[in-house]
């Protein structure tokens, strides 16, 4: 559970980011991942300079990534492609602040919205036992979609991340809490 959660958290840390405040960055940015599992009395903490993440992306083998661009092709049974997502994103971006999706059922409430320069994805269980909050800055998504065709420009996304400070992802459930954020502390 811990490894899977940490892996998910790390992957999310690479592709999304959100500012809590919009002050200009002063020093070198670090990505922090914390995973707490109180039932197992387990705490995992990973702190990485974003420059290290960027260096890894630059040197990644070409069949995985080329010049910081990752080729995804079509995904899932509905053949959703990166270029389709890019078109949808450009449409959504042009609409300004809006609720794109709100799904409420017995088990959970899902909200996808744009507020200012943030894309919000919030998932909550009614009894408050589980929640997921992902807040993605518009600039980061723009940067990711700045690739061509079926490519995501991961390096541009990371470059945007370097300007961000604050929480990116918070996940809370019965067994664990995960927090990913960026600051200048180490």
């Amino acid at each position: 559970m811990r490894v899977r959660t940490l892996g998910l958290a790390g992957a999310l840390a690479l592709v999304v980011a959100a500012p809590v405040r919009s002050e200009a960055p002063r020093g070198r940015a670090w990505v922090h991942v914390r995973v707490d599992e109180p039932n197992r009395q387990s705490k995992v903490s990973v702190n990485l300079p974003i420059s290290v993440v960027d260096a890894a992306l630059q040197a990644a083998p070409e069949d995985i990534m080329s010049n910081g661009h990752i080729h995804l092709g079509r995904m899932g049974k509905h053949e959703l492609s990166v270029s389709d997502l890019r078109k949808a994103w450009n449409e959504m971006k042009a609409t300004g602040d809006a609720e794109f999706a709100t799904v409420e059922d017995e088990d959970q409430k899902v909200r996808i919205a744009r507020a200012g320069n943030l894309m919000l994805i919030h998932v909550e269980k009614p009894n408050g036992t589980e929640s997921v909050r992902v807040e993605v800055p518009i600039e980061v998504v723009d940067a990711l979609f700045s690739g061509q065709g079926e490519e995501l420009n991961l390096r541009a996304g990371i470059a945007e991340l370097q300007k961000r400070r604050g929480d990116i992802v918070r996940v809370h459930d019965d067994h664990s809490t995960v927090r990913i954020w960026i600051d200048e502390g180490n």
Binding site: R28, W30, R40, Q41, S42, K43, V44, S45, V46, N47, L48, P49, S51, V52, D54, A55, A56, Q58, A59, A60, P61, N186
Partner: protein, 173 residues
């Protein structure tokens, strides 16, 4: 004549000791528990390098495999970026009876594992790791690794305290 012999008798060991000190010495220190044996094995780095040079190349080269070769540039870039980064704690894992930390301090990456009664500390200079990793190809040479230990002078590279009281340390002077 006697004076010359005395000068030679003092100078030769002094030059030898100076050369060994200048090129470095690896000291392996093993203490057995409950007042057992205590071994201290000093190995001059220069001697180890010479010995490695005489061993057939195919015996001293470690093949890393194709996957490892693909990711060697990543490892080199990450280490180089880490060397430039600020100091700090990179990883901490705490579970009941176990604690693992990895810290970056200057050129050094310090790994500490406490597993109840067993304690392991490893300190690796980033420059040493960069020197060992091949810049091309997929082979790590033993003589290259020995030579790279020059980057770890005055460092206790490994310290292991076993649960039965045994202590092993490897220090480069």
């Amino acid at each position: 004549m006697l004076k010359m012999v005395l000068i030679g008798a003092v100078a030769v060991p002094a030059i030898a000791a100076g050369s060994v000190a200048a090129t470095g010495v690896v000291v392996v220190d093993v203490k057995e528990p409950r007042g057992g044996h205590h071994f201290v094995v000093p190995v001059p780095l220069a001697l180890a390098q010479v010995a490695a040079a005489f061993v057939p190349e195919n015996k001293t080269r470690l093949h890393l495999g194709r996957d490892a070769e693909r990711y060697l540039p990543v490892a080199r870039q990450v280490l180089a970026a880490l060397a430039e980064a600020d100091d700090g704690e990179l990883v901490r894992v705490e579970e009941p009876g176990q604690k693992v930390t990895i810290r970056k301090e200057g050129d050094m990456v310090r790994v500490s594992v406490d597993d109840g009664d067993e304690h392991v500390k490893v300190q690796v200079p980033i420059s040493l790791a960069l020197a060992v990793l091949p810049s091309a190809g997929s082979q790590v040479s033993a003589s290259q690794a020995v030579f790279a230990l020059q980057h770890a002078r005055l460092t206790e590279v490994v310290n292991v305290q076993g649960r039965d009281g045994e202590q092993v340390s490897v220090t480069v002077y």
